[in-house]
């Protein structure tokens, strides 16, 4: 019997209001950078340890992407520093810092995250967003069960993240399958960058506690390693009537990474993680997983490179109440080669083989047939970056060809162009096709009311037209604008099944068009004050391509806000004191036949910290402007505070 009693009754209103007013006062004070006495940057740098000095980006605070595929795309980067200077405690919270992502917390442990729309309709607060490719150090983390991500088990230690690259738009050519609306690439620091001991502890109200330890050492010259462990307990969210939603959970995760550079041309990396956790009252859901990744890269003398990567990933999820269990074993091998064909052509090509075994224990209300399914994915891609006018006009042509077990061969071609009329000024355009191959949910799921005929579900596809502009007028200011028009075909729909019973099937009876604008920027306003953020607008319209499509099919595929705004302010007040806040505005979500609407909201996170050479103490608050608010579905996320101490040797 679960002995812990989770108390998250709201504080009585008067002390809570006082706290809110205090935060607003501190915010107003902190926004004025006059307290920053630091005139010369050298003084700032002297406070850093040698390891920290080695982490400073030397060309500018915000680096413009250099790889052409990145220049001609709507890429936004969240750095380790951006995450550290926010109130984020877990990966999904850190992803909020990318203005081009829609990030919504649907309950204490689940999140709905996508780019450019199609956060699929919540079923009991679980999202079906399936158009994003998410990778951690090259390992894909979306599940073949429904093509989306279980965010409760993606718990990279935030201190070990080097940066998160978020590309909105189809990455079908260069990246793996499922990159229809975007790619999130989480890149952790190499072991040589995480040396010494780091330990952190955080008690709080919603995040009840978190402890993390990481130790990095060196075995030989050129062989570095680190090991880490973390554990956290998160309290329950709330139902609209104020009662506990009983979705509290805890998670323990540990792992290691080793980097070996036998010469200046070769690098070998091995990493592994394992985790286990329990969710909801009486441990109603249990999860555990393990993974191991190995990567070897070899640099040739004429700017060519060969990268070979292999990984094994096992996830297990057990819903004890309904006795539904899912276990996925994934084996993946990826080989990539890039080289210069001649002075004008740079070629990247690669092949991937992935074998996944998904084993499900069926329940009367949710069945997958067969219970155990083996899935194989073969893919190859080739891309040519053509330098039409050196340093001024570049054209990228590429295509990916993949073969999957449900629909056979699929093509994902792409053309991108970048024009740099003057330094730090780039105009780019792209046209691409991307494909979402069917998941087990589309093809093999059966419920009492849905039975899809085998072999009938096709891939969804999109043709995406993009235009963007990137500008860095002075060293400490950069911003980018990206616009898109996406034309989707064969989107999943729920159709009536005639002649009847059972009542419904999954089919490809919808198409849609989406369009939008993403603006993001990064500015160092004065010494010690940095602002970053962005605005994203998106709208969409659906059409049915079959008379059997039931109404509400469109909202089942995506309930997305039209507008969202993010502003993050990072301020150094003198040598040690830090004041950071992040404000977000998210538009409302419309009501559908399956879900209540969610009103628009503005929320604020804030953080005050004292940074010394060997420790940092901070207090932070999340979602400070309302006692509770919903972001996706009906669960209410509470405002919360936590304290944190982090020591480093």
């Amino acid at each position: 019997m679960n002995k812990r009693i989770y108390h998250t009754r709201p504080l009585s209103s008067r002390p809570k209001q006082a706290i809110q007013l205090l935060w607003v006062a501190v915010l107003l004070l902190g926004a004025i950078p006059v307290f920053s006495q630091v005139k010369d940057p050298t003084l700032d740098l002297k406070k850093l340890s040698v390891e920290e000095l080695m982490n400073i980006e030397v060309t500018s605070v915000s680096k413009s992407p250099e790889k052409l595929t990145e220049v001609a795309s709507a890429i936004q980067v969240i750095t380790n520093e951006d995450i550290k200077r926010s109130a984020a405690t877990r990966l999904p919270e850190a992803l909020r810092l990318a203005p081009n992502l829609q990030v919504a917390q649907s309950n204490s442990h689940d999140w709905a995250i996508t780019a450019r729309g199609f956060n699929g309709a919540p079923l009991q607060n679980n999202t079906l967003a399936d158009k994003l490719l998410v990778m951690i150090d090259g390992r894909s983390v979306y599940t073949p069960l429904f093509g989306g991500v279980f965010w409760d088990v993606q718990n990279v230690m935030l201190e070990d993240i080097d940066r998160v690259e978020v590309v909105s738009g189809p990455g079908g050519t260069l990246w793996g399958a499922n990159a229809v609306n975007g790619v999130i690439n989480i890149i952790t620091k190499s072991a040589s960058q995480t040396q010494g001991l780091l330990a952190t502890a955080m008690p709080g109200s919603f995040l009840e506690d978190r402890i993390g330890v990481r130790y990095g050492g060196r075995i030989d010259s050129n062989l570095y390693f680190r090991v880490y462990g973390q554990h956290f307990d998160q309290a329950t969210s709330h139902l609209p009537n104020g009662n506990d939603a009983q979705d509290q959970w805890n998670m323990t995760q540990g792992g290691f990474r080793a980097d070996y550079a036998p010469g200046s041309r070769d690098q070998l990396m091995i990493q592994g993680d394992f985790y286990g956790g329990k969710e909801d009252t009486a441990g109603r859901t249990e999860v555990d997983g393990q993974d191991i990744v190995a990567k070897w890269s070899h640099r040739y003398s004429h700017a060519g490179e060969l990268v070979v990567q292999a990984y094994f990933d096992r996830t297990w999820r057990n819903l004890t109440k309904s006795v539904f269990t899912d276990r996925v074993n994934s084996y993946d091998l990826d080989i990539q080669r890039n080289f210069s064909l001649n002075r004008k052509n740079r070629i990247i090509c690669g092949i991937t083989y992935r074998y996944q075994q998904d084993q499900v224990n069926n329940t009367p209300t949710l069945l997958f047939t067969p219970e155990t399914k083996d899935l194989q994915l073969f893919s190859g891609f080739v891309q040519d970056q053509v330098s039409i006018i050196a340093h001024r006009l570049d054209l990228t042509l590429g295509t990916k060809l993949l073969h999957n077990d449900y629909t056979g061969f699929e093509w994902q071609p792409s053309v991108r162009m970048a024009w740099t009329p003057s330094l730090n000024n780039t105009l780019w355009a792209a046209v691409s096709r991307a494909v979402r191959t069917p998941s087990r949910l589309d093809v093999e799921a059966k419920t009492p009311t849905i039975v899809t005929p085998p072999g009938s579900f096709l891939s969804e596809n999109v043709i995406s037209y993009e235009l963007g502009y990137r500008l860095r007028p002075v060293e400490n200011l950069n911003f980018s604008i990206a616009t898109f028009y996406n034309d989707y075909h064969d989107l999943r729909s729920i159709n009536t099944n005639q002649p009847g019973p059972p009542a419904f099937i999954f089919a490809n009876g919808q198409k849609a068009q989406t369009w939008g604008l993403e603006i993001s920027g990064n500015a160092v306003i004065s010494e010690g004050w940095r602002l970053r953020g962005g605005y994203t607008f998106m709208n969409k319209q659906f059409q049915k391509t079959s008379p059997n499509v039931i109404s509400g099919s469109d909202l089942f595929e995506g309930i997305d806000p039209n507008n969202q705004v993010l502003i993050q302010s990072i301020t150094d007040l003198g040598r040690h004191l830090r004041f950071d806040w992040t404000g977000r505005y998210v538009d409302n979500l419309v009501q559908s036949s399956l879900t209540a609407g969610v009103p628009s909201y503005i929320t604020l996170d804030a953080r005050i910290a004292w940074d010394a050479k060997h420790y940092t103490i901070s207090i932070a608050g999340q979602n400070l402007l309302q006692h509770y608010h919903a972001e996706f579905g009906t669960r209410q996320i509470p405002s919360s505070v936590y304290a944190r101490i982090c020591v480093r040797f």
Partner: protein, 157 residues
């Protein structure tokens, strides 16, 4: 990928590194005139630091010694320094040969600086500063480099 001109930031960071090195390196007592002599950081050749070195050492001491910056026009002046940043493109090999055996910590950022006998070489990787250390050259000059710094560097023979 086009090479970028070094930014102000690159040399601000390197100036602070030079100041930091003084805490990780031990010189033989013969390197100083007396217990009260200052520690002299010199720059031989073109000065890429502007005034960053002065800013980095302003108000600081090392082991009770004041820190002084000297811009050297020839090797004779350089001999009076304990740490020397060498920026003499085309002549670096000769300069290092002339200084070999002297208890001066030689630092530079030319491509083969450490290979040619320089003790600490800066290089950039992924837009970040890294160092290579030629331990043999340091030992030959009776200079001891702390393991805390060696741990962070690529060791070159």
């Amino acid at each position: 990928m086009h090479a970028q001109a070094p930014s102000a930031r690159e040399y601000q960071v390197k100036a602070v590194f030079l100041f930091n090195f003084s805490h990780f390196v031990e010189w033989p007592s013969s390197a100083f005139g007396s217990a009260e002599s200052p520690m002299t950081i010199g720059v031989l050749g073109n000065n890429p630091f502007g005034s960053y070195l002065e800013q980095a050492v302003a108000g600081e001491t090392m082991d009770g010694r004041k820190l002084v910056i000297r811009y050297c026009s020839d090797i004779k002046e350089a001999l009076g320094c304990q740490m020397l940043f060498i920026n003499t493109p085309g002549r670096t090999k000769e300069v290092l040969a002339a200084l070999s055996g002297k208890s001066i910590l030689t630092v530079g950022d030319g491509e083969d600086f450490a290979k040619n006998g320089g003790m600490i070489q800066f290089y950039l990787a992924n837009n970040k500063t890294r160092i290579k250390i030629n331990l043999t050259a340091a030992k030959a000059a009776n200079i001891t480099i702390s393991s805390k710094l060696l741990r962070l560097a690529e060791i070159v023979e």
